[in-house]
């Protein structure tokens, strides 16, 4: 509630978010039209062009939430000078951070819904799901992995000063290397190996497979098992990593250093 309250206290941010997020999507979509077949009879890309990018846009919003939403919670409290009070409350740090994620998840859902409607109104068609059950499940795996990742990043803010630079680089790396906006098969082979060791590649691929019936990178069942294991591992690593960094920062007295 605290986070929701501070969010609605700055209406300019809300308006900005609702304008800029879909604008990013349309900006990239326009750039890509230059490469599209010149005649309507030509074949469209696998999974339908606009739907493919729409899910890429969804991944970017969700990842941004993990990166700047969950990850930046600690930094925001540091900047506001309230981190010590925040950490002195008799509640788990993780609960506090995940509480923020709930608000972000709500606003993400609103933005995604609003963009879907906008896309439909400008003639981009309706976004449909091939297998809604699998979609929800794989999205859940993605979210679990993302929370773990966000927690680890939240911990890192207590250690690194150039958080913004690193988060920006990681964010762009995510967009290019995880098949968010284009399939990893487009990436040349030596670089494709990097894509294959990033867990989000499998989450993205599985969610898109559930939504658009696109072929999976690995055999379906294997990819499914790998995604489950990765999301659990990421969550555990996130929790443990955050706790360890926090303990170290408490001993060094660097919790509020930024």
């Amino acid at each position: 509630m605290k986070d929701l309250r501070s969010y609605v206290r700055y209406p300019a941010w809300i308006v900005g978010e609702f304008i800029s997020t879909p604008l990013w999507f349309f900006f990239f979509a326009l750039g890509v039209t230059l490469f599209a077949p010149t005649s309507p009879s030509s074949t469209s890309p696998q999974g339908g062009g606009i739907s493919f990018f729409f899910f890429g846009f969804l991944f970017i919003i969700l990842f941004g939430t993990g990166m700047w939403g969950i990850g930046q919670t600690v930094r925001n409290e540091q900047m506001a000078g309230t981190l010590e009070q925040f950490f002195l409350t008799p509640a788990s740090r993780v609960t506090l951070i995940i509480g923020r994620w709930a608000r972000l998840f709500l606003t993400d859902a609103l933005i995604i819904g609003y963009t879907t409607l906008l896309l439909y109104l400008i003639g981009g068609g309706i976004v449909t799901l091939n297998d809604p059950g699998l979609f929800v499940f794989s999205l859940g795996l993605y979210e679990l992995g993302l929370i773990g990742f966000g927690l680890l990043f939240a911990g890192l803010t207590m250690r690194i000063r150039s958080y913004n630079t690193i988060s920006n680089l990681v964010f762009f790396g995510y967009m290019v290397l995880t098949g968010a906006l284009f399939p990893v098969s487009v990436i040349p082979v030596p670089f494709r190996y990097i894509c294959m060791i990033i867990p989000f590649t499998y989450f993205n691929d599985l969610v898109r497979h559930a939504a658009l019936a696109t072929p999976t990178i690995l055999p379906g069942t294997l990819e499914f098992v790998i995604a489950i294991l990765l999301s659990i591992c990421m969550l555990v690593v996130g929790f443990v990593g955050f706790k360890k960094i926090e303990d170290e920062a408490r001993m060094r007295g660097t919790i509020a250093t930024n």
Binding site: A12, F28, T38, N164, M175
Partner: protein, 279 residues
């Protein structure tokens, strides 16, 4: 005794503001690195998405629409110009807000320095930063991908420098709005994105609806991107592009005049209402 007016004092003030800006960049090398890396990352993204959409015919489709098959140089030129405007909006437009946040805006405004000198000083740092963006992003890419066009980069750089002047004017305008409306980061985000969309960063402006093209025509970056592409990719010269160069020069007069006038007006009002220290 130190002079507070005249040519020497102005140069001294400009140099101080300039070095302060450079120091800020060197103290936070990460943000500078980001400015250099982002154009490549955006270009890679568009390139990858394009390859997926167009498949084996991607470059043929691209060439049919743009007149060039050199996708990388075409997109990197757009990215570099976009990054230039990004830097100017972030630095010139938001600088005063940063001073507000640090509590140093009043001291700056109380110093016996003309506001115009202050704004110009902020812009000088950006000339160095954007030149670095040009050399690293455009220079290196062209040298590797299209070495035959390397010499034409000098003319492209001249266009970029001319285009910076109206952009600074937009920065002054934005700085005024920041004093008035606070919350600059939302506006920065939207403005940067609008610039990218309207100025043909990754596509020709002609792809946009007619009414949007009118808006594009009012933005200096539209001419800069287009002219740089013509110079580097189509072997044209500044002389053959005289029409758009004249428009850029006209915008270089109009925007700073308008921007400074608006800034002064808002500043005057803010000094009456005591807005400077509010945020």
């Amino acid at each position: 005794m130190r002079t507070v007016s005249g040519y020497k004092a102005t140069v001294g003030a400009l140099a101080a503001i300039f070095w302060k800006g450079i120091k800020h960049y060197t103290r936070y090398p990460g943000s500078f690195l980001l400015v250099l890396v982002m154009p490549f990352l955006f270009t890679l993204m568009i390139f990858g998405m394009g390859q997926f959409v167009g498949g084996s015919n991607a470059s043929v489709n691209f060439a049919a629409r743009t007149g060039t098959s050199n996708i990388l140089v075409y997109e990197i030129l757009g990215s570099a110009v976009w990054m230039t405007s990004w830097v100017v909006v972030e630095d010139v437009g938001v600088a005063l807000r940063d001073e507000q946040m640090k509590g140093t805006l009043e001291q700056n405004f109380l110093a016996p320095v003309n506001r115009f000198t202050l704004l110009i000083g902020l812009s000088l740092t950006d000339i160095v930063i954007t030149s670095a963006v040009f050399v690293v992003v455009v220079g290196v890419t062209t040298m590797i991908v299209l070495p035959t066009a390397f010499l034409s980069l000098l003319q492209a750089f001249v266009i970029l420098l001319v285009g910076l002047i109206p952009l600074f004017g937009i920065g002054f305008l934005f700085a005024g709005f920041v004093l008035r409306f606070k919350e600059p980061y939302v506006f920065t985000q939207i403005l940067n994105l609008l610039f990218a969309t309207l100025t043909g960063t990754y596509y020709p402006v002609s792809l946009l609806p007619y009414w949007v093209q009118f808006l594009s025509a009012a933005l200096p970056q539209s001419y800069v991107v287009e002219d740089m592409r013509r110079i580097v990719l189509a072997n044209q010269t500044l002389v053959s592009l005289y029409g758009s160069v004249f428009i850029l020069i006209a915008l270089a007069v109009a925007y700073p005049t308008l921007g400074y006038a608006v800034f002064k007006r808002i500043e005057k009002k803010a000094s009456v209402t005591g807005e400077f220290s509010k945020y």
